[in-house]
Amino acid sequence: MGAIFFATVGCKDNSKITIYRVPKETKPQMADQVSATGDAGAIVRWKAPSGWQEQPATGFRKGSFIVRDPDGRTADISVVSFPESAGGLLANVNRWRAQLKLAPVNEIDQSITPLSVDGHQIFFVEIVSDKPVLDGGMKSRVLGGILGTGGETWFFKMSGEDKLVASQRDAFRQFLETLQIGRGVATTGTSTNAPTPPSIEAPEKAPLRYALPVGWQEQPLSSMRVGSFKVSGQNGKEADVSVVSLPGVAGGDLANVNRWRDQLRLSPIDANALVQSAEHIKANGHDFLVVDLVSESPISEQRDKVRILAAILNENDHSWFVKMTGEDQLVTSQKTAFVGFLRSLAIP
């Protein structure tokens, strides 16, 4: 009796190599539904409308898309979740308003509509800037969805040029309506018999490479910017440097320069004048068109004159814009640094 015990105990794992036939397996379809898990465990799923290009979701984003119009302008769509109420509905709407340089509001007005999606309440927000706030003298429009669910708040935001975003309003509403909100993973009984399969970690996106000039501080990137810096000068003066990359010619050099001239309340120029006034800086095999513009008189909010120092690079059917905007003297003093920065840029 004992012998049987020991014999069987000894070879517990006597599994063998087996050979068998099975019918062909249909590989599971990649669901066109994307889902993401928030910090509090809520799972939100959406279906992106056609025409929205999916982008890698980095940083805070749980989801990221871009929609382009024929002119090459883009509107950016982001999905982000924050714990708890993230400040509340009003605070966040005002945050978006501030981004559009609008005054904050004290109460929910007609720009905010509650929707009911999948048994949850989502506040749909639509705001347009009064003045042009985008490069190129364009107004900006924001479409937003704010969803509060079990311990966290989700933000769905489309922002971009006024007309483009306005044309996407229905698509955005539809996007909100495809949302499915639910709870996270849960099991019961014995140990949770649902271990999620382990996965390989994905590599990070390669950032823009450059040599950071002295005195320039890196800032968080945004939907439009692949590089963003701040320069602080005396007396609290600041200059902002942005690096933007767009496909195609993005409207063309002249149009962009005139857009910047317009921002400084300067009159537009024609192509000849551009050729005469602009510099060319060659660096690393790239040919940058550089313009140095200064406003004639102090403009609105700033009591100082504003200078824009900008470089445009067109290469490989792609356009790069490096632009420094700030107080006249500060920007002037930074010109050498700006050129050095251009030279150090590694354009892919």
């Binding site: 009796m1 015990f5 190599i17 036939r21 062909k24 019961t188 649902a194 382990p198 390989i200």
Partner: protein, 394 residues
């Protein structure tokens, strides 16, 4: 009576002393005490080792070993579950042989002990013969196999034929050591170059310090692998990875990295046939398939406390001409062809149902044993009780 005749034989004298020990009540008490110690320490150990490791080490073993940290040697400190169970079994049987007469007065105790014997045997058989696996089904998905949650296999799949796949499934234990596997149906040999019971996989490029990969083909070329300690948490799974070199008549075809985290099979051709390699959870194919039609999960109003969950599945068995819908819910499993499917859990926001699949031929034994024990207990104690009352009233 039995022992008296035996006592007369000369050979008996030799066995008398050990037999007396084996059949003594003292041994029973000692064994029960040791069993209590084993269970107590086993329970404490679960906090750090997890229930499966403890089961294997404490209860499905002959001895429980202990080694000082860092030392290579180990000493047995407690008898393990199997050893204790065997000794108790022998003790019980010997005690009955030595002392008990089959009288009506002892009927209760005999029944009781016989039930205990049966219970112990049943648990041993269960430990040896039962097969537990899991079936994860998304809504709408059909599967004809279940998976072992903690065991992997290397599957070599011949996908040449358009109508079917021919699978050679190599269980994990063949992969743990560097060895060569040759199967008559395969025109190549598989050399296991390295096996990692739990590992971490990272895309190369981030980790520039790592040397070039041991893999020469497939996705493994771009992946850096490092070994990490095995997990002890019940709800985590080890990431098994293995480097396999394929060698055919023409020479080495290459080395692949296979892991259960790499779910897509990697393929190559040899002798005009196409093969796929994949490491996955060990599959147990069945002659029937289940499709999850719908999973429902009710909660108590305004809470997250689960009230009940159930899966509506379709059972299709071409061999036996079965095609019917079944509802599997908590406390109401599906029993079919020796397998029992229990509603175990759910995932994916109520879109995936997890069923526990159990095949245990010894399943009926505990019920019989329990019935016997219950009968014995009730008989014995009611006899005592009535005797007691009668005496008090006398």
């Amino acid at each position: 009576m039995f022992t008296n005749t035996l006592a007369q034989s000369r050979a008996w004298d030799f066995f008398k002393q050990p037999f007396r020990v084996l059949s003594s009540l003292r041994l029973t008490v000692v064994c029960l005490g040791l069993a209590m110690l084993l269970i107590f320490f086993g329970t404490l150990a679960q906090v750090h080792l997890g229930i499966h490791a403890v089961q294997a080490r404490y209860f499905q073993s002959l001895f429980v070993f202990w080694s000082p940290p860092g030392a290579g040697w180990k000493i047995p400190v407690l008898p393990g579950g199997y050893l204790l169970g065997t000794v108790l079994l022998i003790n019980l049987i010997a005690a009955h042989a030595a002392r008990f007469q089959f009288s009506r007065k002892k009927a209760g105790i005999i029944l009781l002990h016989f039930g205990v014997i049966l219970l112990l045997i049943g648990q041993l058989l269960t430990g040896l013969m039962a097969q537990e696996s899991q079936l994860r089904l998304d809504e709408g998905e059909t599967r004809a196999y279940s998976e072992a949650p903690r065991e992997t296999e290397l599957a070599v799949i011949d996908v040449t034929n358009p109508d079917y796949d021919q699978v050679v499934a190599i269980p994990e234990r063949f992969l743990t050591r560097a060895s060569t596997i040759q199967q008559p149906t395969l025109p190549f040999t598989l050399k296991i170059r390295r096996f990692l019971p739990n590992s971490q996989l990272v895309m190369r490029g981030q980790d520039s310090s790592a040397s070039s990969s041991e893999a020469t083909n497939g996705v493994g070329v771009n992946i850096a692998v490092s070994e990490i300690p095995r997990t002890v948490k019940d709800d985590e799974r080890d990431l098994v990875s293995v480097f396999v070199e394929v060698e055919s008549m023409e020479g080495a075809l290459g080395t692949w990295l296979l892991a259960n985290a790499i779910s897509d099979p990697q393929s190559f051709t040899c002798s005009g046939r196409t093969f796929e390699l994949v490491v996955r959870q060990r599959r147990f194919y069945k002659q029937f398939a289940l499709t999850l039609l719908n999973f429902t999960h009710d909660r108590y109003a305004g809470t997250d406390i689960p009230k009940n969950f159930s899966s509506r599945v379709r059972l299709v068995d071409l061999e036996r001409n079965e095609n019917r819908d079944v509802l599997i819910s908590m406390n109401d499993p599906l029993r079919y062809r020796g397998y029992t499917f229990y509603q175990s859990g759910f995932d994916n926001d109520d879109k995936t149902s997890i069923l526990q699949v159990v095949k245990n031929p010894a399943m009926i034994i505990p019920y019989v044993a329990c019935a016997l024990v219950a009968l014995g207990l009730v008989t014995q104690f009611s006899m005592h009780l009535f005797g007691f009352i009668r005496k008090r009233n006398a």
